[in-house]
């Protein structure tokens, strides 16, 4: 199994998910400031989560498109910028309390459940809340999810070689935060689609990876290595 790279903005929710015992054998943190094609070459797929550094992604777009051109899968969540995607994301108010009034009606009205990520998911497992919409998507993209106003939430295209998947959902951040406790369904399906193996068991956290004195991508002097990619970022 080739691991899945998780583009890492140094944010705790990204770290929490990638270091959780259930997922740490599947995901490998790729610190955004170390992201080169060389750092991605050994990976089968890449997840760019919500709360990513969009300006730094734009500076590194050629590495992302090279990864796609060589057949990789990239899944982009949350917001994005046309500086590196041929798509237009727009902000919308976040409705994360819809379930208080009607738990049967999440803020997505259409989902293509033929897509492997969404196959078998209940409506509330396929959408917990959204961070904006796409008002423009790549020319050959297909729409996977729309909201009640017909705006695009999730799309996918193969026009760059591999598969580029975009969604305004935020599964990595929310699963890491653990305030929503039913996201295993989505994240497990996403993981299986990206690497071919489905994680099993309950989500737990390892206290030993909190309060770490160094990261594997840092040298002994405390600086991030410049010459080498960050092959694994976890507790030392």
């Amino acid at each position: 199994m080739k691991k899945i790279g998780l583009v890492f903005n140094g944010v705790w929710s990204h770290y929490a998910m990638a270091t959780a015992p259930k997922y740490r054998d599947f995901y490998e943190l790729v610190y955004i400031h170390d992201l080169t094609f060389g750092a991605l070459r050994h990976l089968g797929a890449l997840v760019i989560p919500f709360q990513s550094h969009q300006a730094e992604l734009a500076r590194r777009k050629e590495h992302l498109y090279q990864f796609l051109a060589e057949g990789g899968k990239i899944a982009v969540f949350g917001d994005s910028t046309p500086l590196w995607l041929e798509a237009q994301w727009e902000d919308r108010p976040v409705d994360n309390f819809w379930w208080v009034t009607d738990p049967s009606k999440p803020p997505v009205s259409h989902t293509d459940h033929h897509h492997p990520v969404y196959a078998g998911l209940a409506p509330r497992h396929a959408c917990w809340h959204i961070h904006g919409v796409y008002t423009r998507i790549p020319a050959e993209a297909e729409i996977i999810q729309k909201n009640g106003d017909g705006e695009v939430i999730t799309w996918q295209t193969r026009q760059y070689g591999g598969v580029l998947f975009g969604s305004t959902l935020d599964p990595v951040v929310e699963h890491g935060v653990q305030q929503i406790r039913h996201l295993d369904h989505y994240v497990d399906s996403l993981t299986a689609w990206l690497c071919g193996v489905r994680p099993e068991g309950a989500f737990s956290l390892d206290p030993a990876v909190y309060g770490v004195d160094r990261m594997d991508c840092m040298d002994d002097g405390g600086g991030v290595k410049k010459e080498e990619p960050c092959p694994k970022t976890a507790a030392s």
Binding site: G10, W12, Q51, V100, Y210, G211, D213, M218, K226
Partner: protein, 218 residues
């Protein structure tokens, strides 16, 4: 006027810290060579959603900043060990919906005018929305707020260094005045800034009651 530096990793968190008559903010953008000069500042703010790989790179500089009596505020889950004497630990063993907030020690009146019911339940009635995990802090530090299971959620540490650390277990704090919420999150943040201003104007102006409240529900 307080001179403050806010770290930013490109997700917009610095927008919640706007300069006014009492405080001036500069922004330190995280780059591959992140190494900000902290010496001109009284206060370092690390907002919710910050880059703790970058903060680990400058932890010696942060320690030196605190040794000169200055203030660090971190409103995030610092999974790397860059804050001296304090550790944040993520923990999902308790359901967040059951989290309530309890006052432990508030010698500096940080909770003056703060309605803690707004921390217990946000405006749509959801609970467990604010903080995550817990803080392990020195025994002599002030636990300002604890959760339902008495785990520290807000800590004021004046004992580890000559400086001041004001920390939340990832509970966002800032000048969120656009929420029109005068007795919620913005009030706690403004009270903390008042403490910083008092420290800058000298120890005699910082009226400390030295009273430690008994554990009481919010």
């Amino acid at each position: 006027m307080i001179q403050a530096l806010v770290v930013s990793n490109g997700i917009g968190g610095a927008a919640f810290y706007q300069s006014n008559a009492e405080i001036h903010y500069d922004v330190a953008e995280v780059t591959a060579d992140f190494d900000p000069d902290l010496t001109p500042y009284d206060l370092l703010v690390v907002p919710n959603g910050s880059d703790h790989v970058a903060m680990l790179k400058i932890r010696d500089k942060v320690r030196a900043f605190l040794e000169t009596g200055k203030t660090v505020m971190c409103f995030d889950g610092w999974f790397t060990n860059w804050l001296p004497g304090n550790r944040w630990i993520h923990d999902n063993t308790r359901p967040t919906k059951d989290v309530r907030h309890f006052i432990r020690t508030d010698r500096h009146q940080l909770l003056e005018g703060v309605d803690l019911r707004k921390f217990d339940h946000e405006k749509h009635g959801m609970s467990g929305w604010w903080a995550c995990g817990r803080i392990e802090c020195p025994e002599a530090a002030d636990v300002v707020l604890a959760d339902t299971w008495q785990r520290p959620l807000v800590v004021l540490d004046e004992v580890t260094t000559p400086g001041l650390m004001f920390l939340t277990a990832s509970g966002p704090l800032g000048d969120f005045t656009f929420y029109g919420d005068p007795d919620g999150i913005p009030r706690l943040y403004r009270n903390a800034l008042r403490l910083v201003a008092n420290r800058l104007s000298g120890p005699s102006s910082d009226s400390r009651s030295n009273s430690t409240s008994q554990l009481q529900p919010a």
